[in-house]
């Protein structure tokens, strides 16, 4: 389980790693929320490329953060999911709600586009 955070402009980038299950879900939830509060970032990017395993507990954290960001009129992007993780995302019905893309570059583009629109 690992977590790397980094904020830029109005967005917080989180790189999640390892197994994203019951135990790590509560750790991730707390840390992400704390960072969102501290940095006062509006947008959230989650890099899932280091996630080896995810189940509904892990997914719950993602969906919960989406609701929070959405409530604050921000944009959320997740990227880099491996095929197993992608399948889980697909079945969950989360995909139409959240921006899903392949790379950090694409993810930033989505954020930038939103920021421009707002200006």
């Amino acid at each position: 389980m690992c977590l790397i955070m980094n904020s830029k402009k109005n967005a917080l980038l989180i790189k999640v790693g390892g197994d994203f299950d019951l135990v790590s879900a509560s750790v991730f939830r707390e840390k992400i929320d704390k960072s969102l509060d501290e940095t006062m970032c509006k947008h959230l990017l989650i890099d899932l490329s280091r996630v080896k395993f995810i189940d509904s507990s892990g997914l719950g954290v993602i969906l919960g953060r989406y609701k929070k960001i959405k409530g604050n009129n921000g944009v959320m992007v997740i990227y880099g999911a491996n095929p197993a993780v992608e399948k889980i995302l697909g079945i969950s019905g989360i995909v139409p709600l959240i921006n899903v893309c392949r790379s950090e570059e694409e993810a930033w583009k989505i954020i930038d586009k939103t920021e421009v629109k707002e200006v």
Binding site: L22, S26, F53, S56, L63, I91, S92
Partner: protein, 150 residues
């Protein structure tokens, strides 16, 4: 055709969060004795993770000193995994298994959805105040790869 038991394992775990991954790793090592695809393996891991997490969160309401019993059985053509707790039980199994149904506002009600998507059969036996048993089974065969998932 009679079902021949090729191997069986019984695992008793305390209802602690860190034992969810332990259950996953053990069952993954166990079912790897069959010649299954990486895809099958990943799917079994998710299903086990959901069932064990449910016993901890719902069955035992996050109490950490209770026991969960997992029995794995390898047949020639399928694997069966039973996850049982002696927790609060489920009053209405049919409703509990509906997608997005959850008694916990923090959760999404996708546990049974994943179990059913990833296994060929999910049977649930439960009695209020006595506990819950989830029996997950998955056919293992070489043509499996041709069946589209989800």
């Amino acid at each position: 055709m009679e079902n021949i038991v090729n191997n069986r394992i019984k695992l008793e775990l305390l209802s602690k969060g860190e034992n969810v991954s332990l259950a996953r790793i053990t069952i993954a090592a166990f079912v790897s004795q069959l010649n299954l695809t990486l895809n099958d393996l990943e799917e079994i891991k998710v299903a086990v993770s959901e069932a064990v997490s449910n016993s901890i969160i719902h069955g035992y309401q996050n109490e950490t000193d209770k026991f969960i019993t997992i029995i794995g059985t390898l047949y020639t053509d399928k694997v069966e995994i039973e996850v049982a707790d002696n927790g609060i039980g489920i009053p209405n199994i049919k409703i509990a298994m509906e997608p997005t149904f959850s008694t916990d506002p923090e959760r999404m009600g996708l546990g049974f959805v994943f179990m059913q998507s990833f296994m060929d059969e999910v049977r649930v036996e439960s009695k209020v105040d006595y506990g819950t048993k989830v029996i997950l089974s998955k056919k293992i065969n070489s043509t499996k790869e041709n069946i589209a998932v989800s």
